[in-house]
Amino acid sequence: MQDVAVVGIGLSKHVSKRRDVNIAELVYEAVSAAYEDTGLSPHDIGAVITGNMPAFEGVNLPELWGAGHWGAYNKPLLRITTGGTTGGSVVHGAFYAVASGIFDAVIAIAFEKQSDGDTTMGLNTVALADIAPMLLYGADPTLLISMGGGAIGAVAYQATSYMKSSGCTTHHLDKVAAMCRDNAAKNPYAHLQQPGITPEEVAKTKMMEYPLRFGHCCPATDGACAMIITSGEKAKKITDCPAYIKSCTSCSDEGAVFGLYGGGTANVDPCEQEGCKIAAKKAYELAGIKDPSREIDVAEPYAPFANQLLMFYERLLLCEEGGAPAVLDSGSMYLDGDLPVCPSGGVISTNAIGASAMERVAECAMQIMGKAGEHQVKKEVHNAVAHGWGGALNLIVVAVLGDTPRG
């Protein structure tokens, strides 16, 4: 396999509404930033790998119209979309495009312009086709709605299950949110800027769906991310400190909470996340990491909701199951800790959905390259793990990055 490395990263401004640009122009900001970061131009790139969460902004295959703004003119282009994991899946696509030896350099682009659509409606269209038959069987529509439309609904079940099995309390959720928002305040590309917010303040926000309060949930963001990914050989010529992608794995489970067309699902415990454990285990194996809790220096789990940061910390095998609340209390997850988590501020602070799972990888790369600025963690970073989840709590992507190629 050809070594693969991240050599450049570009992010657009991330805010709730960008009405001064259209989708194509918003994405251009991230793409041009990535090129500026490396001194490269589209002429140096073999292919464009892109994706977003299509139904959110109502444009099918937006690259057909917009990719001229992204340097894709007459280039190979591959579109990969997998819901919440899209950004991570696009990185995987870029990884394989280079690892396969087909290309030496590609650009990975992911984005979402949520203000062009209605996010709640977008999320509803995830489940509409499944819920529709339920109405035929005589189900009460208002009951179906209270069972949970949108991501919060499904995640609430995951949160209660997790809290019961781990001993995580609502106070832990408040602490996670405050920690992430504080990190976000150090990240100029983060959407929510709430420096110094305390867990007590989070605890006073409105209850959205038990046990999740407004302060535990992500915002809806307009934003884009681009990454230039090259072969190891090429990377050395471009930068002194490439961030190598050591492994990319994904694992898809049966959908949780809702079954197909109202049928049952054998994925009965939404917090078990078997897929995440399988993907993480394989990713570490491929990366040559034997003890992730000691060898991983930074983790960027994809956690739009506070409970998920703790749950996925465990499912990424960074501590034993049920151990994350205690790890949080120990202080090791903070920027100056032993294994900082979401130094970027995480998805809970910024969620341009299609881009979010890519931004986890981008943050890991920046931490390894030492380019994270104010949110650079205190410890030296050799290895980092990025994660994404999507679908009916059933799709998982994991990437392990490091300062050396796969061993």
Partner: protein, 155 residues
Amino acid sequence: MNEYKEETTSIKGNWPLIHYRWKSETVKLMANFLEAFKEKKVLGLKCPCCGLVYTPPKPFCRCLCRPEEWVEVSDEGVVTTFTFSGAWSFEGMLEGEGESRIIVGVKLDGADTMFLCMLEGSDPEEVNVGMRVRIRWPEAPEGKIGDMMIVERAT
């Protein structure tokens, strides 16, 4: 160029999902499943390869086989997950809006799958993963999915 505008014109459009016609064979399977409700029975569809029992039924198994054998499962089971929907009082504070409901995921004894339904007659404090519940059948079930959508604590 004119002054840069922070807010430019919005073009409106939509996705006419109203004209989509999704196809589901679960609807046909469900006819059998729902018919059994009239006798207050719950059926499951069993996979011939891995033995998983799907309740409500599903036309294919995750192991890539097609479940086809109908088996009867219990109308009692355990809570696998839950949430509170609508207005509830937490730590003395009234929070949320709308009708108060406790939504639980239930795995019936003899089935390997969970489905969502409503828990009635219990307080939020007593709800827990692993709690035993049973379907509260209407007096004369009509063979609708609503017949099995309410559960109550089983002791």
